[in-house]
């Protein structure tokens, strides 16, 4: 029995479906889809970043980071505060905001060096809630915008002002769609590569038996920290984009029902750690939600919760098998250099 390395042609063929989907998705505006639905897809792109963030770290290590609302909220608030106090427009503040949010996110990570499992999740969930109370509490609300939030000019609005009034909103919607789509594609490809790389498997090993991983040579603290930082970068990018595209920035972005429950549903429903599953589920649930608005209306969160409960009861087992099937081929290739009887 011997395995041959797949030819370059066959390897290219493997990428055809995913490239087709990415190109087709980017071409959606060419079909004449504008306005409301373009906004929905832009929002779905931003939530895709949150979903990738959650799946890349929590889907592999099973350290359920319920604090992504805190990371996204931090970068959104930094974008808003940089405008309020320094007059910096989002074009310039997005990158520094992401950097600040990544630095703040380490507050979530620190306990995970010692605290495992459910305690980590509980601690991570407390942070966004503490932030909400701080922002809406008496002395601080004056500086942090309180309930009303912080207004700021949206991303690229200075360019839009150069256009005739009627073209401004369509221009912004189109630009935002393309920007978020491009970022999501880059993030999705990188997340996928990472999740199925040696590094990704080290994260999975940690999720399956952390003590074994450490005792067999894996620097678990370093691997977890790196994985967490990549994950935080994605969540922080989502938060900064959300602030820049949908001002004003309010505590809504920090509330887990808004920015944690949808990606969490996508990750669990789509298959933890598979990247593609949660990504697809993110788009399906957001579009389905808009289509079903009349039927579900304001019951979205409850609908998500019910879906989650049903899923937890049903416990889809296919996920592990999917990853495993993927691996069989990869291993066969790696073993091809050995001769055996």
């Amino acid at each position: 029995m011997a395995f041959a390395k797949p030819s370059i042609k066959r390897r290219l063929v493997r990428y055809v479906p995913s490239i087709t989907i990415m190109v087709a998705y980017s071409c959606i505006p060419l079909l004449g889809i504008r306005g409301f639905w373009l906004d929905v897809l832009t929002r779905a792109n931003i939530f895709a970043l949150l979903t990738l963030s959650l799946d890349l770290y929590s889907g592999t290590t099973f350290y359920l980071n319920l604090g992504i609302s805190f990371i996204a909220g931090s970068s959104a608030y930094v974008v808003a505060l940089l405008y309020r106090y320094l007059g910096m427009v989002p074009e310039y503040s997005i990158i520094p905001a992401i950097a600040v949010a990544i630095a703040l996110s380490t507050v979530i990570f620190l306990p995970s060096i010692r605290v495992r499992g459910v305690y980590f999740s509980v601690l991570s969930l407390l942070l966004p809630l503490i932030m909400v109370s701080l922002i809406t509490s008496q002395p601080l609300s004056l500086y942090l915008g309180g309930e009303g939030g912080i207004p700021l000019p949206s991303l690229f609005s200075s360019y839009a002002r150069m256009l005739p009034p009627r073209e401004r909103i369509p221009f912004l919607q189109l630009t935002w769609f393309y920007l978020t789509t491009a970022l999501t594609i880059v993030a999705a490809v990188l997340s996928y590569k990472l999740a199925y790389s040696n590094f990704g498997f080290m994260l999975r090993a940690i999720g399956q038996d952390e003590e074994l991983a450490e005792a067999s040579g894996i620097d678990t603290t370093r691997v977890k920290l790196l994985g967490f930082l990549v994950s935080s970068t994605l969540a922080a990018t989502a938060g900064a984009l959300y602030a820049a595209i949908r001002p004003p920035v309010t505590v809504d972005v920090l509330i887990p029902a808004n920015t944690l429950v949808p990606p969490l549903t996508a990750v669990i429903l789509g298959g933890m750690g598979t990247i593609i599953g949660p990504l697809a589920t993110n788009y399906i649930t957001i579009v389905a939600y808009e289509l079903l608005w009349d039927a579900i209306g304001r019951w979205r969160t409850i609908a998500y919760m019910l879906l989650l409960i049903v899923l937890v009861i049903l416990k889809p087992q296919g996920v592990v098998f999917h990853i495993y099937l993927k691996l069989r081929k990869a291993i066969a290739t790696k073993l091809s250099s050995v001769t055996w009887r």
Binding site: N198, F201, M202, R204, A205, Q208, D209, E211, L212, A213, E214, A215, S216, G217, I218, D219, T220, T221, V320, I323, Y324, L327, R328, I331, A332, K334, L335, S337, V338, W340
Partner: protein, 240 residues
């Protein structure tokens, strides 16, 4: 004989329980040391202290002339200490190949070397045919082999085996012993923990007997079975 590992007065407490009480052992380069003792005597705890899974409350662990007492387990692996776990521990949802390859990759930065080393470890343990399987589909014997492959893939100087023969048939035990001897001939040092003395008789030149966290005997296995205190400890359990 120069020492590869020295444990100096190692003490480990769990609350009020003293699992290891001022235990000192020395292992020479290329030696096979057996550690026996009844259940709960502290054998696994000693392996945990040497591999860094637990830190001792007192005493030092010196490996290859270097004090490693405070180092994390993964650092000790890179220095050359590998271990297996009692009852076999594996990543249940990762194929055998990755169970072994991830350890290789954590020690060898060069992916080509890591891959070659993985293939070597899988060949030595006769696991090539099972490389794509998930651990769930393996027999206890093959699982034990996965652990051994994972332990030897990092090019260790010292391998700690915690009850490697438990639950195996006589032929399977022979297979494991063959691999131990093969690696020992290549210069790898072993510490083998066993509940019973039988398998260590022909394998180990020297055994340490633990009881209630205290070292009660040290010497050749043939003398251990004659020692009054050892016989006392094993009364009812049976030395062999």
């Amino acid at each position: 004989m120069s020492s590869l590992l020295v444990c100096e007065g190692v003490t480990k407490r769990f609350g009020g329980l003293v699992a290891l009480n001022n235990v000192s052992i020395e292992v020479g380069k290329g030696e096979i040391l057996g550690i026996i003792g009844p259940n709960g005597s502290g054998k696994t705890t000693l392996i945990n202290v040497i591999s860094g899974v637990l830190l001792p409350d007192d005493g030092r662990v010196i490996f290859d002339g270097k004090d490693v007492s405070k180092l994390k387990p993964h650092v000790r692996v890179s220095l050359g200490i590998s271990r297996t776990f009692q009852g076999s521990r594996v990543y249940p949802y990762l194929p055998v190949y990755y169970n072994v390859a991830l350890s290789a990759r954590s020690v060898y930065r060069d992916p080509e070397i890591a891959r070659a080393k993985t293939n070597w470890a899988l060949t030595v343990t006769k696991l090539i045919a099972e490389a794509v399987e998930l651990p769930i589909n393996l027999t206890p014997f093959k699982l034990r082999m996965v652990e051994i492959a994972r332990a030897i893939v990092t090019n260790p100087k010292l391998v700690l085996l915690d009850e490697p023969f438990a639950g195996l048939s006589a032929e399977e035990v022979e297979e494991v012993i063959k691999i131990i001897n093969k690696l020992n001939n290549l210069g790898v040092t072993f510490i083998i923990v066993e509940h019973k003395l039988r398998y260590l008789m022909k394998l180990a030149e020297r055994v340490v007997v633990l009881n209630n966290g205290i070292k009660i005997f040290e010497g050749p296995p043939s003398e251990a079975i004659k020692d009054r205190e050892v016989i006392q400890v094993y009364l009812g359990g049976g030395v062999s």
